[in-house]
Symmetry: D2
Subunit: 402 residues, 4 copies
C-alpha cells in the first residue's frame, strides 16, 4: 500500500482543527501522531477530541517525536521561523501555514533554513486548492479565457477570533497579512505563477476597529505581462465571510463564489441551533452554509498535493518560494500604503530557469497607418468597418459593397 | 493504522469510473484490487488507467479473488441479483449501486440472499450523501425547519449514455428507475427514514424519445405524517443536469442546487476545450461547472460511510432495506401511472422496532368553538384577532383594547 | 394627445393601493377619479393619500360617478359579481381583479352580465404581465424552447393579511383560490392559451393554519397537447414570498424568479427600518427586496394593456373568458382534492374559432420495426446507434464503419 | 390633468431609441414632438417608427420647434455644448445625456450657459435611477448599512457600437468617459452626494482594441469622510454587459446585479431567434435576459424625476452640477493614469450651503491607554476582552469573572 504519514502538528487553534479534520478525515491513511498546544491542558483536550496518541506543550518535544516524519505548523505568524528551524534541524518535512512570515526578509530566512537542511518544504495556502479554483485554473491553462487580463480576489469578514491576529507585531500587520496573502496567491495562480508581479498600489486604512494595524485594504498589482490583479480585504465586512474571485480574459470570464452563494440556501425562523459556517453572522433568517468546509476551502486537495509530493519526491504546487513572493508583494503593499505611490515588488529570488513573460495583448500601434477596430455586416449587405487612423488620431468609418 | 480494504469492482462504465476515482482518490487507504468488465480488453484498459493489479471478464473470478474483502457492484440493473448472489456466496461485504433492483420483488430476493449469507450489505445511493444534503439533513434533525411538510426533488437531463438504460427490460423501466430512485431517497431522508410512505400518484409519459420506457415522470408521495414528497424526473431536459432539492417546514425552508448553480460560472467564447461536467450540453457560452464532481455528488461521503460501517461493525446509513423501500415506491409509481389513481406503497418489510410517525401539524379542529388564526397589534394600539368559528364555518375578526 | 381615463376604483385595501400606485405612477395620463371603501373614513383617508378628488362608501355612487369611464374592482371575491353588475348597468368598462369569481358558475354569470351589457371587460391577472414573463412568453412563441412540455408555477408565502381571505365562503376557498389562479394563468400562457386544459389531479391540505379552507395545494394539469402544468401554492411557506416559474421544452428551458432572488441582496445588522417587500419575514440579516414592486409584479404592463385595449377597441390579453377558464380549472382541482382522482376540466365556453391543439411530440411508435434513439460518433471513428426494436421491446446497439 | 410635455429629441441612435421607448412608453402623457437625426432620411425613419410628427436634420430647427418645451440631447459627446447652447438660447428646459461633457472645463462652460439663460437643466444619468439603486439608496439613507465605507461599481462589456465612441477626440476619452461616468455617480449617490471626492488613483490601459483611447480602467476615489469608491470599466469584457454594484457599511452590505443575474435564466439549443439584451454575446446556450430594459436601466424613473421636477419647479435629482463633478473626477482619473499618482479632484463649484462631511468611523486612538477591540462571553462563563494597548502597541487579553 502507498505510504502513510505520521505527523506532528504544532498549533491547536482553529487552523489546527481544520488541518486535523482534513488529514484524518474520510478514508485517509495519514494520522496526526503528536499535537503541541500552548498548554498541556489544551494539548490533552485536543488529542482526546481527535484521537491523537501524544500531546505536549513543548514544541521541541513534539517536533522531535521519533514516530513522525512531517511537521505541520499551524501557529501564529511570529512563531513560524522558530518552528521551521526546529523541524529543519530534525530533518523532517515541514509544512507551514499562511502567511509564510511577517515580512519578505523573514520569509527569506525561513527559505534559507530549509534549503540548508535540504528538507521538503510546503506552503499551506489552501484557497489555491479549492475544487473550483483548481478546475478554473485548469480551464484557464487550456485557454478557455484567452489571455488573462484581470483578476479580482476578495476576502472579507468581520474580524478574526484570536488575540494575536490583532497584534501588529505578532502578526506582522493586519488584514493584509491575514487575508491578502490568499488573494495574492489566487491572483498569481490565474495569471501564471511564473509571471512576475512588478509593482503595487495599495490603499490601507483602519476604519472600524480601534487597532494599530489596518483593518481594510485594496490593492492593484501589475504583472510583467500587463495583467492586473486586484485584492479587496477587510475585517469590517458584515454579512458573513465573503470569498469571491473573478477572472477576465480576452475570450471569457470566470466568477467564483466560495462561501456565501454556493447553491445552499436556508431560511429558519429559529427552531434549530448549530454551527452554520465560519464567520457566519447569525443563526436565523436567510443563511448560506457551505456543504463541506474543509473540502470547499481547499484543505483536502492541499494536503493530498503535499503528501503526494513528499511520496513522489517532487515539489508541491505551493512552495516556500511562493510564500516568499507573497510576502514580498505584501511588503510592497505596506510601502505603497505609506508612500501613496506605486511601489516595486522587490524579489531577491525567482523560479530557476523561468523566462520573462511576454507582454500581453499590447496596444497594437500599427506600423501601417490604420488598425481595424471592428467590422460588421449591416442589414443592407454592406460591410461597415471602424478604423483607427494613427496619423490623425481619429476613428474613421468605411463602408464597402454598396 | 485503521483497516484498509481491498475491493473487487464489477463494472467499468461511467459509474465504475466515478467509484474508482473516489475510492482511490485523495489520501485514501483503500484500493481496488480487481476489476471485472464486459470484455477482457475493457477490463485491462480500465486496470491500466487506474493502477488496478488484476482484471478479468469473469464475474465469478473477480468476486472470488482471494485478496478482496468487499465486492462493489457497478453493473446494469439486470445483473445486480446475479452479482449479489456471487458475493454473498463468497461471504464478502457487498455494496450495490442504485437502484437495488428492477422491482420490489427482485429487491426482496436480493435482501434475502444477503440476509441468509449474513454478509454486510450497503446500498450505494450517492445523492443522499452530498455534503449539502448531509448538512441539511442535520439541520432538519436539529429542528431548523420545524416540522417538514414538503420536499421537492428534481433530477433531469437529456438522457443516459449506455444502451441498457434505454431498454425497459434490462433496466426495469425508464427515467423513474434511473433517476427517481435518487429523489425518493432524498425525500425520505428529509422527512425521516422511519416515516412510512403511504401512497403515490404518478404521471409518467414518453414525450420526446422513441422508446418503450417512460422518459419523464412526476409523482406525489404521501407519508404517514401527512408530509408530501414530490419528484420530477426527465430524460428530456435541456441545459445540462439539473439536480435541485427543496424542503419546506413549519419554521423554514432549504433550497439546494447541486449542479447548475453552485457559485461557479464561466463564459468562454471558445478558446479552450475540455470536460465541463456530467451531461453538460455545450462547451462555449455561459457554462456552470461543478468544483469536484465525486465529492459534490456524494461519492466521497458515501464510501467513507460504507467502509467505516464495515470497520465498526455497524449498519451504513443506506441499507438494502432502504433500496427495497425505494423499489416499492417506484413500483407504486408505475402502477399509479397505469391506473391513474393514488396507489398504496406495498411494504412487506420495515425497520425493526420503528414506531408509527405521529401525524404532522394537523388541522386543529378545536374542541372549543373558535381557533385563533392570527393576532396582530395595530398601529392604534388595539389587538386584532382573526378567529375560525367552527360552528358557522366563518372567519371572524375581533378587536380588543379600544 | 392620446386618451386619458378617469377611473372609479372599488376597494381601498392592499390591492387597491397597488393599483393606484400603478395607475397614477410615473408619467401616467390616467387618474383615479373616485374611490369607494368599506367606510367613509377609510375612503377619505385613501383619497387624501393618493390625491383622489371623490370618495364614498357607496358602491353604486362610485360606479355611477359621471366623470369616470372605467370601473376597477379591487374587492373581496364575494363582491365581484355585485360590482360587475353595477358597472355593466352603468355601461362602463369593467376591470376585475383575480380571481374572477368563487366558482366557474359564478364566473359564467359574470361573463354573461358583461356580454349582455356589451361593455369592455378585462381580467386583472397581473403575474402574466411581469416584464420577465412577457419577454419569456415572446421567446417561447418564437420557438426558443421548441415544444413546451412542462411548466411549474410556484406561489407561496406565510398567509394573507385580510380576514376575508381566510373565510372559505367569502373567498370561495383558500390558498388555491388566492394563489393558484395566478399559477394556472401563467401555465396557460406558456403552453398556449388556446390549448385546452383537459384534466387535473390535485392534493390539497390544511396543514398549518386552523382554518376550514386549504392552506396548501399541489396540482398537475394535463393539456390536450400532452403538456403538463404543475402548481404549488401555500400559505405555510417561511422565508418571504416565493414566486418562481419554470418552463421546459424540447429545445430549452426558462427559470424565472420574481421575488426572492432578483439580483438585489442586502445584509443589515439592523441599523435601518422600513418596508422591505410584500410578505418579507424579517427586517435584519440577509434580505432580498425587489426593485420596483408594481412593475416587477406586472401591474404596470397590465394596466397599459387594459387601457390601450380600451383605446384601440381591441380585446385585452386577459379577458373574463380567461378568468372563467381559471375558475373552471380551480373547480376541477377542488373536486380532485375530494375524489382523489383525475377530474376533467369542465368548460362550457371556449375561444371562438380555436382549433384543437395537435398532440405534442408523441411517442413515435414507428411503423417500421426500429426507431433511432441516438447516434454518436465514437473516438475510433465508428458510428454508434441505439435503436428501439418495437417488435421485441428491446434496445439494440449497432456500430457502423468499423 | 397634470401637465404633458412636448419634447424635441436630438439624436436618433441607440440612446435616442431608449429615450423614446421610455418617454412614449406605458401610459405616458408626454410625447416626442420632433426628432433631429444626422440625415433627413434617418430622422424620417425614426419618426415613422415611433409616431413622431416632425423630423429634421437641422438641430436649430428642431430645438426651435414652437410646440416643444423641452430639448433632450441624445447626441455624441462633442455635440453636447453646441446643443445646450441652442436650447438655452431658445429658453427651453434642457436635458443632456451622460457624460455632460468631454472635460470639466467643457462641463463648466455648459453649466454657465444654462445658468445665464436661467433654463431648467437636468443631467440624464440613468443608472442612478434603476429601481434597485433608488431603493438601495433609500435604505442606506435610513441607516440600514450604518456608515458607508466602500462602494464598488462595475460596468463592462465588449465595446460600443457607434464609431464616435472609439474616437478619443470626439468622445473625450475611451471607456472611462463612456462607462465610469455612470460608476462615479452611483458611488457618489451611495456615499452621499454632498460628500466631496478628494483624490483619485487610476490605472488605465489599452489592452485589447487597437485604439488611441483606453479600453479598460480601474480607479479608487477617496472621499472627505474616508469612504472609498472603486470603479472597474472595460470594453474588453466577454460574456455580455456586466453591471454590478456593491456597497459595504459598518452595519451591512448591498449587492446589486442589474443585468446578467436578475432571476431570468434561459437555455436554448437554438430554436428561436431574437433580441436578448443590450450587448448580449450569443443567442444560444444559457442566456440571461433582463425583463424590461428601459425600466431596469433607470430610464423610466429618470424621466419621471426630470419631468416632475420641471412641473414642480424644483431641481431634479441629477443636475448639471452633478455632471460637472463627474467630469472633474474623470479628469483627475486621466491625470492619475498619466502621473501614476493620487491626483486631487479639482472642483471649482460645489453645492451651495453644503457642510463638510464628518470624517467616517475614524481610527479611535483612545486618549486613555486602552481601546476595547472585542468582548466575548466564553463557554465557562468568563468574559474575554481583547484590548489595544496604545502605549506598547500590543494587543492584550483580559479574562474576568474566573
Amino acid at each position: 500500500m502507498a505510504k502513510a504519514h505520521n505527523i506532528t502538528l504544532l498549533g491547536a487553534g482553529l487552523i489546527g482543527t481544520f488541518y486535523t479534520m482534513t488529514i484524518q478525515g474520510q478514508r485517509s491513511r495519514d494520522r496526526i501522531g503528536a499535537i503541541c498546544a500552548l498548554t498541556e491542558d489544551e494539548a490533552r483536550a485536543f488529542a482526546r477530541r481527535w484521537g491523537i496518541p501524544k500531546w505536549t506543550a513543548s514544541m521541541a518535544k513534539a517536533v522531535n517525536d521519533p514516530d513522525s516524519d512531517i511537521v505541520i505548523i499551524g501557529l501564529p505568524n511570529y512563531l513560524h521561523k522558530k518552528a521551521v528551524t526546529l523541524a529543519a534541524r530534525a530533518g523532517k518535512a515541514v509544512l507551514c501555514t499562511k502567511p509564510l512570515a511577517r515580512s519578505a526578509r523573514e520569509a527569506m530566512e525561513i527559505m534559507e533554513i530549509v534549503d540548508k537542511a535540504g528538507v521538503f518544504a510546503g506552503y499551506l495556502e489552501d484557497l489555491v486548492y479549492t475544487p473550483k479554483t483548481l478546475k478554473s485554473i485548469a480551464s484557464v491553462k487550456r485557454g478557455a479565457l484567452g489571455k488573462v487580463l484581470w483578476v479580482r480576489s476578495r476576502e472579507t469578514h468581520s474580524g478574526p477570533h484570536s488575540a494575536w491576529f490583532w497584534d501588529k507585531k505578532l502578526a506582522g500587520g493586519g488584514a493584509i497579512v491575514d487575508l491578502a496573502c490568499h488573494c495574492i496567491e489566487i491572483i498569481r495562480s490565474f495569471i501564471g505563477k511564473k509571471v512576475r508581479p512588478v509593482e503595487v498600489m495599495c490603499l490601507a486604512d483602519t476604519i472600524v476597529h480601534p487597532i494599530a494595524a489596518e483593518d481594510s485594504a485594496i490593492a492593484l498589482i501589475r504583472f510583467e505581462d500587463r495583467a492586473v490583479g486586484q485584492f479587496e480585504v477587510s475585517w469590517a465586512f458584515r454579512g458573513g465571510m465573503d470569498l469571491r474571485d473573478e477572472v477576465a480574459g480576452t475570450e471569457g470570464t470566470i466568477w467564483l463564489n466560495h462561501f456565501l452563494r454556493t447553491g445552499y440556501e436556508m431560511f429558519t425562523a429559529g427552531g434549530g441551533k448549530g454551527y452554520v459556517a465560519e464567520k457566519a453572522e447569525s443563526e436565523t433568517g436567510w443563511l448560506f452554509p457551505v456543504g463541506d468546509e474543509v473540502h470547499e476551502l481547499g484543505y483536502t486537495n492541499m494536503f493530498s498535493d503535499m503528501f503526494d509530493a513528499i511520496d513522489a519526491g517532487r515539489e508541491p504546487t505551493e512552495t516556500f518560494l511562493d510564500g516568499y513572493i507573497v510576502n514580498a508583494v505584501m511588503d510592497a503593499c505596506y510601502r505603497s500604503a505609506r508612500t501613496r505611490r506605486w511601489e516595486p515588488v522587490r524579489l531577491e529570488r525567482w523560479y530557476k530557469g523561468a523566462k520573462k513573460a511576454k507582454a500581453g495583448p499590447a496596444k497594437k500601434r500599427a506600423k501601417a497607418r490604420y488598425s481595424l477596430i471592428k467590422e460588421e455586416r449591416m442589414p443592407d449587405g454592406t460591410i461597415k468597418r471602424l478604423l483607427q487612423d494613427w496619423k490623425t488620431g481619429r476613428v474613421i468609418q468605411k463602408v464597402k459593397g454598396r
